[in-house]
Structure formats: structure tokens, C-alpha cells
């Protein structure tokens, strides 16, 4: 009985992952490459935010990674 429950749980997790994982193919990244998808598209705003975090909270860096998600090169 316990084994059956485990099996169902495993199958449930498998089902969850098999439907949830979707790799966006390189030629389908048009929407991701759009400028509105970039977190840091306003350099001045980013610099101001960074300054506030740095001076008020003594926090610096850790602000995502470079690139807009286009996946080119």
C-alpha cells in the first residue's frame, strides 16, 4: 500500500515536470529579445537604484546578469 502511494507520488511529480518544462528554441526567442523584457533597460534608473541600495542598505551588486534573454551568441 505504501509502495503504491509512493509510485503515485512519483508519477505525479514526473507528470508535473514533463508538462512544466519547456525549452524555448533559439529561433523562438523574439519576444524574449524584446527590449521590454530587459530588467536593466534604463541605465540611469538602475544607477540611481544601485546608489540608494548602496547608501541606505549597504547592499551592492547581485543585480541579475547581462544580456536580454535573446540567447544570441
Amino acid at each position: 500500500m505504501k509502495n503504491k502511494a509512493r509510485l503515485f507520488a512519483a508519477m505525479g511529480v514526473l507528470l508535473l515536470f514533463s508538462t512544466g518544462c519547456q525549452h524555448v528554441k533559439p529561433w523562438q526567442r523574439g519576444a524574449l529579445a524584446d527590449s521590454v523584457m530587459q530588467a536593466d533597460r534604463d541605465p540611469l534608473g538602475v544607477a540611481q537604484d544601485e546608489h540608494i541600495f548602496f547608501s541606505r542598505e549597504a547592499a551592492f551588486g547581485g543585480r541579475g546578469v547581462g544580456g536580454g534573454g535573446c540567447g544570441c551568441n
Partner: protein, 170 residues
């Protein structure tokens, strides 16, 4: 006889399955060196395909939103002009979902080579391009001889020239 049962068989099955699913999702069956280029007319491409018989081809997959693709266009133009008469043809295959995006791009950067659009994205799927732009240099016999993923400026330009020249000599 004592048979040893594996510990936590379900957990192992689960992890293996997840890893396999991840690997299956990420792998692209990209055209490889030595593969035969399929008949491009079978893919219902929008636009006019040039005469490809007995020519060295460069099949380039690009999109208007892809910055390296925009950088590669000015590099491909001189190649077509320089080697066109020797039997070289560039076929730039656009994979934009939006036709007007392609037209807008071409207005800004006109191309001296053939541009067609793979609206259904069937050909690019078949080519399994791993990085945009993806280009394949094909010899006169229709076999893929060189594969390029992405465009790295002068370095790629130089490689293109070397490869095209080597195939034109044959």
C-alpha cells in the same frame, strides 16, 4: 541465493527520468558536417529561392530581433558580391513570426543576396539551429561542409572567406 534490491528504486527512477527529460528538451538535432541539404522547395518558404544547382551555398538562419544577425548582414553582402560570379549563393532564411518585422529590418539593411522567410518555422526546426544566427556552408554536391553558430565579427568573416574559397576551388 540472495538478491540485493537497489535502495530507493523509485527515487532513482525519478531522478533518471528527470535528467533524461531535461537532456531531451535541450538537445537539438542540428545539421552536421556531411549531412545532405534537404530540398528547400519542399518547405513552402515565402519569397523566391535562387537557382542552387551546382553552387556553393551559405544557408543562414536569421531573425530581425537578433543583434548578431544584424551585424552579420553587412559582412555577408561583400561575400555575395565577391564570390557570386564564381558560383556562390547566400540564402538568408528569416524565421521571424512577424512578417512586417522582417520587412522593416530589410528596409534598414538591404541585402544583395536572396532572402526568404520560413513562416512555419519547419525548416529551421529541421536544421535544429542551436544559436542565432546559424549558418551552414554547403558544397556544390549539396553536402553541409561547415557549420557556424552565432556571429563573432571579423573572426567569423575571415572563416567564411576561407571556407567559401576552399569549396569554390573544388
Amino acid at each position: 541465493m540472495h538478491i540485493e534490491h537497489p535502495k530507493r528504486p523509485l527515487a532513482k527512477l525519478l531522478i533518471t527520468s528527470l535528467l533524461l527529460m531535461g537532456a531531451a528538451g535541450q538537445s537539438f538535432a542540428e545539421w552536421k558536417v556531411g549531412d545532405a541539404l534537404p530540398d528547400l522547395t519542399a518547405f513552402k518558404l515565402e519569397g523566391k529561392l535562387p537557382d542552387c544547382s551546382n553552387k556553393v551555398l551559405m544557408v543562414d538562419f536569421w531573425a530581425s530581433w537578433c543583434t548578431p544577425c544584424a551585424q552579420s548582414f553587412p559582412a555577408m553582402d561583400p561575400l555575395q558580391k565577391k564570390y557570386g560570379e564564381q558560383g556562390f549563393q547566400i540564402i538568408a532564411i528569416n524565421v521571424d513570426e512577424n512578417r512586417t518585422a522582417m520587412e522593416k529590418f530589410l528596409k534598414k539593411s538591404p541585402a544583395a543576396f536572396a532572402v526568404v522567410r520560413d513562416a512555419s518555422q519547419q525548416l529551421v526546426e529541421k536544421a535544429g539551429v542551436s544559436t542565432m544566427p546559424g549558418s551552414f556552408i554547403v558544397d556544390r554536391a549539396g553536402k553541409v561542409r561547415f557549420v557556424h553558430s552565432g556571429f563573432n565579427g571579423k573572426k567569423t568573416e575571415k572563416q567564411y572567406e576561407i571556407e567559401i574559397e576552399s569549396l569554390l576551388k573544388k
